[in-house]
Symmetry: C2
């Protein structure tokens, strides 16, 4: 049984808007929102389709949290702190009250974790697959937005956290990494299902980083985006790419998986350009945040991506990440 639209909103969604005065309890045509004084607003949108971006059997609470986190990662990439979000849901016929309850429980959990509220949205039915769209709002000091286009020659390329766990996690979920221990498989699966948006790191990079984005298409493709938008070449030192213990175990067995690590995407780590004069501050920031920040390469005159192996020799990869299509 699925409730009517108004009943569903009152029961499952209005509680998510409690505490956000501009949401008017979801009973108006629109919501009111203001950035804090001296700040400007950042907006981003991600759309997820069942069977394309997630699987029908994905637990609804984890799906909800991942959908929200992917957007928070986009906000973090520009240096913004989260404020709130709008939710568009097109329910397929299989979605029942229990599913919606799990889904909204997941949203409630992450609203608490990341300090934001539901502000509004739209709920419709679809004869097709479940389709979700989240519009997230954040704010940052006026004029401070980090973009993809500011990297300079000589800047170091840094990444947060570990690279490749998300992509390897998807392989693990598909049963392709059975040679790993169960705990290693679970660790990778968790990274795929519930990425950690770098909401504290992004704002801390304002004034430090010359360019920034979040790694969603794979480090290779996203480093290429930074290089292209900045009119430079980016050089990645393959041995410097930070790997989790589980990823190292996977690669020890099958070194070819390094392609997945660099191109599989779903990392939701930040990749950013730091001018040499600011590089000493990155170690301090890493300690403050309790988050590893690793120099994996540098920007240089030229174009495209160059990957160097342990001996400094160029590596060639056949795949170049995916373009969503």
């Amino acid at each position: 049984m699925v409730r009517g639209e108004f009943d569903q909103i009152a029961r499952y969604f209005a509680p998510l808007a409690a505490g956000a005065p501009g949401a008017f309890g979801l009973r108006n045509d629109a919501a009111v929102l203001s950035p804090p004084p001296g700040e400007e607003l950042v907006v981003t949108l991600d759309t997820l389709v069942e069977g394309v971006h997630f699987l029908p059997e994905d637990p609804p609470d984890l799906l909800a949290r991942k959908a929200l986190r992917v957007n928070l990662s986009d906000l973090a990439a520009m240096g913004a702190r989260p404020l709130g979000y709008l939710l568009s849901t097109a329910w397929s016929s299989r979605i029942d009250d229990a599913w919606i309850e799990g889904f909204t429980n997941g949203l409630a959990a992450d609203q608490k974790t990341f300090g934001l509220h539901l502000l509004g949205g739209d709920t419709v039915k679809t004869p097709g697959p479940l389709t979700l769209s989240i519009t997230a709002f954040g704010s940052l000091p006026r004029g401070g937005a980090l973009t993809r286009s500011g990297a300079k020659t000589g800047d170091g390329l840094y990444v947060s956290g570990r690279i490749g766990d998300g992509a390897l996690g998807l392989l693990a979920l598909r049963g392709a990494l059975r040679h790993l221990s169960l705990s290693e498989q679970e660790q990778l699966e968790q990274a795929y299902r519930l990425p950690e948006p770098r909401c504290s790191l992004g704002p801390a990079l304002i004034g430090l980083a010359n360019a920034c984005l979040d790694v969603s298409d794979g480090l290779l493709a996203d480093a290429a985006h930074l290089a292209e938008e900045s009119g430079l070449q980016v050089i990645i030192e393959a041995p410097a790419v930070p790997l989790s213990d589980a990823a190292q175990a996977a690669l020890a067995e099958d070194p070819e998986l390094f392609t997945q690590v660099l191109t599989g995407g779903d990392d939701y780590e930040l990749a950013f350009a730091i001018p040499p004069v600011e590089e000493p501050k990155i170690a301090v920031l890493s300690q403050e945040l309790g988050l590893s920040l690793t120099r994996v390469g540098r920007f240089a005159e030229g174009a495209g991506v160059l990957i160097l192996d342990r001996g400094g020799r160029p590596l060639t990869l056949e795949v170049r990440g995916w373009t969503h299509f």
Copy 2:
């Protein structure tokens, strides 16, 4: 043929973002947006699914414009002027470049008409029906937002424009109004396909209206929303409901169509509560805007909706508008 995501964005969507500096040419993870000084932001979202909210054969340019206008109507209902929008598109397999070109041409036309820009969004593929979601941004003087909950006993209930043309237009498109002249049918169809959001009226009602919404579910259901949120009864005088010449012709043939007029929805006119002391200003405002503003009833102690016929006798309708589900 459908282009890849990046190519498609560069060719069809980036031109829609030209002139909006915070959109960064659609090449970043998010967009930056600020309300003008002294104003706050209003955000709204509408999702449209092919086969549910529109038909596969609907012309893509008109569909684009209607999708945008429905959101502008929500902004107007709160008193906000449009600033920009985010677009989520889940393309079904039938969507080709020609369709996307028609769609973006429609957006371009209405961006010009209503003075706003595309700020960002997401473009994905779906194995299901075409699904569109628009998040629209507007702004209004801080604290000035019109809501549904402020109507007071004795306030007059007003509507803009004409009621029922949208609902009758859908009937005309289905061939159910063949007794009308071709020009009458076309006039009604046009009202359904391309509503006129009341972007000038909404902001002008700030400080005048005690409550406001846009009529999307039908005058009956939406007047009931105003009454319920304000804790009052609303009394509608049926003969006062403003009808176009084409609607009058339709009703002359089949008086039962009045139910469609009151409950069919898709009007996108504003319905608002005006205290008696402000009522003289409404005629002035109507002249200034060149838009008819009609008193169709009043708010009273109690609850629910009462509809009175020409003799002041209560009318009963079986249908109460639709709840989308």
